[in-house]
Subunit: 197 residues, 2 copies
DNA sequence: GTCTATATTAAGATAGAC
DNA sequence: GTCTATCTTAATATAGAC
């Protein structure tokens, strides 16, 4: 065979994600992706029927992971302990492979994703996640606190990129703030806690 | 005169900002802006020499406001009290006119802004702001906490847009979390506080 | 599965009349 | 100050040979 099975498709996804997350979706042309891979644009169209299809391919990977994470949260008792335990799992899930790039791409390319159905799916998943984490009857402030606890893990390290510290220190600082936010009980949880004492 | 002085230029800025912040910079064509105004593209080019120049015009407004806010912070004693007082001023500054749209545009169009010098200026201003608010010797977690206290005011209300609550309740929830984050003293501030007791 | 060549389209931008 | 008309460019996408 002329090449290892499925390899080219994966390499296109990887290079595209790298460029899309670094430069932006609209700022990256298929020509650029093709050149980086040492092929022509036409080759890309053999593997994907459009530019948007490439996005769909790697965002779907992340949507699948989120579905699993959401199921895990649902299987746990609601509350601050589950939220803080979740953040450890979530951090691990973005630190492997290209998941962190996917989240950065998702954050920074909302206008482009608005017209894609995969963007809508991703957005809904993130909202679902916050919903199950905070609990359906959480007040708005608690929902925000929960949403930002997750958000800090993506955006925090990036925000600290100009400080003279290591990646590991950035991740650690983000995790510390995330835990602080997630550990805060909602009013509903406080009432429940008081009732069982 | 055929029209009220400077009016058209301002109307272009307004319409462009509205479309750029709702749909994205790349997703909005000059044709669309012109149509909305009831003129042709050529008319836009009489007032602005490029699409990017329109962005520069309204982002510069915000950069100027930020400079003033930063000066105010510098004039105050550093610490949690100044940070919380600042957030009130900051919230007021984005609630007037189109400043909130400018910040949304800034957040959601980072890839497009990356190649514009006005984007760089804006980014630097925001980093300066966090620097003076948190204090130069703040640890990474405190810097993050401070950065997110400001960020919550932009992003928080937008994140809660699907909850069945009013705009006012959204703003209030965002402010509450922002104050919680900004009110937290940094380790350096805690030491200084202990020393003066 | 990848190439060359090309179709198609729409954007940003300009020239010059009025 | 705004128009019509046009230029220029570069992108996504496709046809068909190899």
């Amino acid at each position: 065979m002329t090449e290892r099975t499925g390899d080219t498709r994966e390499r296109i996804k990887e290079v595209a994600l790298e460029l899309f997350s670094e430069q932006g979706y609209e700022q990256t042309s298929l020509r650029e992706i093709a050149e980086r891979l040492g092929v022509t644009k036409a080759a890309l169209y053999y593997h994907f029927k459009s530019k948007e299809e490439i996005v769909r391919a790697f965002v779907e990977d992340r949507v699948g992971q989120l579905a699993e994470l959401i199921e895990w949260v649902k299987s746990q008792p609601p509350g601050p302990q589950t939220r803080t335990a979740f953040l450890q799992r979530y951090a691990a899930s973005i630190d492997i492979g290209k998941q962190h790039s996917i989240m950065r791409f998702f954050q920074e390319n909302q206008p482009a994703l608005k017209s894609m159905e995969i963007g809508e799916r991703m957005r809904e998943r993130m909202l679902d996640l916050v919903e199950v984490l905070a609990g359906p009857d959480a007040d708005p402030v608690s929902k925000l606190r929960t949403a930002f606890s997750v958000f800090v893990l993506h955006g925090g390290p990036f925000l600290l990129r100009d400080s003279g510290i290591t990646d590991e220190q950035r991740r650690s600082a983000a995790m510390q703030l995330a835990l602080e936010l997630a550990g805060h009980p909602t009013p509903a949880e406080q009432r429940a806690e008081g009732a069982t004492r």
